[in-house]
Symmetry: C2
Subunit: 475 residues, 2 copies
């Protein structure tokens, strides 16, 4: 079945993983890692360096999870997670270690704000809205940051007033905080861009936990300063997984091997996958909880852990890249950055690869905007994106020379992106089960991070933490 699962361009990915890797699965290992995303690969690498025999089982025909390589006009592009922020020390260190070069997200010139039916261009980080709306939005952002500062993202359920914060949706808080329409629109855009859901879907506590893990909402939203969108990896962030996979022992990675059952016993764990079964001393489940729901753990999991798997849906996002003959926006003194409340396409940023003669833009269909277009033919999304870009950038945007996108919602081995989130009532009840090992079963994936939850950096933290847990456990 694996062949028709991934509709994106995996050439870059495939290139890095010779087919012979998919052939053999060791029957007995110290640690079996389920999922070859960044978290799983990082855990596998650390364990292997630590002298443990390992096997990584991956359902897809590629590694990388929510990072993924694609191609547009002959250039490699990131169809999944890609940006790196200056305070994301783990991914920065890994880039240095792997010899991957970083370069700044293009951000020179005017930004565009399209709110309440008006297009405005502005410079710097403060959009030119009405003073009242700007004050209103600023006050809400500061309010969220202040509340987030009281939360330990490693244990949000212990925060003062956690139960009350988890009883309400982010929407409930925004409704009672914001009093201007445009201010609310700005916060809705930020919600969709950062959490890939609507404000009424996510618990306030869950949103605050993510903010706390990043430092502030501005850091999550921004390209400039310490912003999480400040840097990119030359050649693509998807190379991180490829290089981590390359360093694994031969035969340790098995692709196209979806796991359907994990059966612990007194002496080890049996992992049943599409191609057979593996006996391991311990298992690391390096998957988003919504994907762990696919696995039959029998009666091995405590009820709250089992509940978590059906109470942490994935966000909704489709990432799209549009290529033009030239980066015409740059010539006009525009950065290419667009923030819009009109939907369905935005935010938008410059995505021109260094040295390319062409101009690329990257944008998102996110939250509710993505659902209508998920599963639809790509041409429909292309048309929607180009229409929006014409509105933002004028007639020159009408004639792209290329388009590619990745519908993460329709991807059966992701079920969405960027990450899993929780509705009211889940984090305070099932949250403590997020990282807690269940006997020989350990949990990883960016959802289990305590810093940069949902980001590449969080995935690396989660992989390192899970590996350390296993190393410290009895065999």
């Amino acid at each position: 079945m694996g062949e028709h699962r991934d509709d994106g361009q995996t050439r870059a990915g495939r290139h890095a993983f010779p087919g012979d890797r998919s052939m053999t699965a060791p029957a007995q290992v110290d640690v079996c890692i389920i999922g070859a995303g960044l978290a799983g690969l990082r855990a596998a690498g650390r364990l292997s360096e630590g002298g443990r025999s390992i096997c990584v089982l991956e359902a897809r025909d590629r590694v990388g999870g929510r990072t993924m390589g694609g191609e547009l006009c002959g250039e490699p592009v990131d169809l999944g997670g890609q940006w790196v922020g200056p305070t994301q020390h783990r991914v920065l260190a890994l880039c240095a270690e792997l010899g991957l070069e970083l370069y700044p997200q293009y951000a020179e010139g005017l930004r565009l704000l399209d709110i309440g039916g008006r297009l405005r261009r502005y410079r710097g980080t403060v959009p030119r809205m009405s003073l009242l709306a700007a004050l209103d939005a600023g006050r809400a952002v500061r309010g969220l940051n202040r509340a987030a500062a009281t939360i330990d993202p490693a244990a949000p359920w212990l925060a003062a007033g956690a139960a009350d914060l988890d009883r309400m949706t982010l929407d409930q808080w925004l409704r009672r905080t914001l009093f201007t329409r445009d201010g609310r629109r700005v916060l809705d855009i930020m919600t969709r861009a950062i959490f890939t859901c609507e404000a009424h879907e996510i618990s306030l506590l869950a949103a605050l936990t993510t903010i706390a893990g990043a430092g502030s909402l501005e850091v999550q939203a921004e390209v400039q300063g310490d912003g999480a969108q400040k840097l990119k990896i030359r050649g693509g962030a998807f190379q991180l997984a490829a290089r981590l996979a390359d360093r694994l022992p031969p035969g340790a990675l098995v692709l196209q091997a979806p796991v359907h059952a994990v059966e612990p016993s007194e002496t080890g764990v049996t992992v049943r996958h599409a191609g057979g079964e593996i006996r391991a001393g311990r298992v690391i489940v390096a998957l988003a909880p919504a994907l762990a729901a696919r696995i039959d753990f029998g009666a091995a999991l405590p009820p709250l852990r089992q509940q978590l798997h059906s109470r942490m849906p994935m966000g909704s996002v489709i990432k799209a890249l549009v290529a033009y003959e030239r980066p015409f926006w740059r010539a006009r003194g525009w950065s290419g950055e667009v923030v819009s409340d009109r939907g369905p396409f935005g935010p938008v940023m410059d995505a021109t690869p260094p040295g390319s003669p062409h101009g690329f833009l990257v944008g998102f269909f996110d939250g509710g905007h993505s659902r209508a277009l998920s599963g639809a033919p790509m041409d429909l999304r292309r048309a929607a994106a180009v229409k929006a870009l014409q509105r933002y950038f004028g007639p020159e945007a009408a004639t792209p020379i290329g388009y590619v996108d990745k519908d993460w919602i329709a991807e059966p081995w992701s079920l969405g992106g960027y990450a899993g989130f929780t509705a009211p009532g889940t984090l305070t009840t099932c949250g403590p089960a997020l990282r807690l090992p269940c006997g020989r079963i350990h949990w990883s994936g960016t959802e289990t991070a305590t810093r940069w939850i949902g980001y590449l950096d969080g995935a690396l933290e989660a992989g390192e933490r899970a590996a350390a847990e296993v190393m410290a456990s009895p065999a």
Copy 2:
């Protein structure tokens, strides 16, 4: 693995299903039904009567799904769904058809209300609270009924203002509607008892849809009048599934066969299960969406359907029965019915089997109250239940002669009960995918009903509807 999955008393269930049923799976059938709960068995029976060859795959070692037989002091008891209401025409008709006898839930005498730290006994349906609190609770109930009356439970997403109703939690609505503490407490008890979740977990629209499907909130809550708890099936509701299973053709039911993949093609569907695989023309998935999440459908499902599987968590409930030498409460003129806001055990009702010399009480750990006790040793729950019963009924309740419970949250093939529910934002976006067939894949289970959603009656409707769909479809 099947042996250690079901910790409850399955003797009654096992008795009805000779082991030879589990042995053979036909390799090719017209219709494969996944799940041998009431919905799946009803669909299977209808299809078989209609001349279709069928195979029912059940993960457990018993049929019945969320109905389940147990034993207490030598008497058969229902550890799962059991009550029948006078407007539940499908289950009433099935009882008549199967020769199962109904008898009224014991409700003679005084009821007990334990709210805000005060125990009050009352007669009839109106509890003796302060006038203000009673008026307040009554107004909220009428408000919910009025709102529910504007909703077609077959398509709540089309209701006027559906998006707004689905943006908020039931808690949001209750907060702005109720102004007395005791009034709010009553509504919280009703929420937990009816939806098995906390008011902040469920979307207002989702709650209203369930109410609309039942007729009114009182009908859902009541023992008297047209109340959904008015009648019981002599010998146990679990017999429904047993008898439906007995009428299937020999070999059509395969137990201990969890399905891990469904792979549709142009000409049929391959269903992979623990014991092998089956080719079918069509498949009916008669599972709660949270359990359908276990199955790998590859890229066969539209994104919104796939999202539904991780956005419809199961409610949280543990059902417990406590036996006493005599039904001492009856002698005192008490019905045995208790409604309490103290937690964790309640509501409580008389559960004495007709003709038994002993006295049984049945009660629930529901919503948030159940989570702390789920997965714990049964003795802990027994102690909690008996402690609560002493408070309600005095020292005579301190010396039970028997206890049995069913922790539905810890049951890997249920993941909770009574039914799946949706948080804000799901019903209006993914709801339309609830019943919509996906090519050769059809959906059933009580969550897909349009009347009595989450009840036995809804399961039968869902089974009948799915069978009719398949009968009307090309082979």
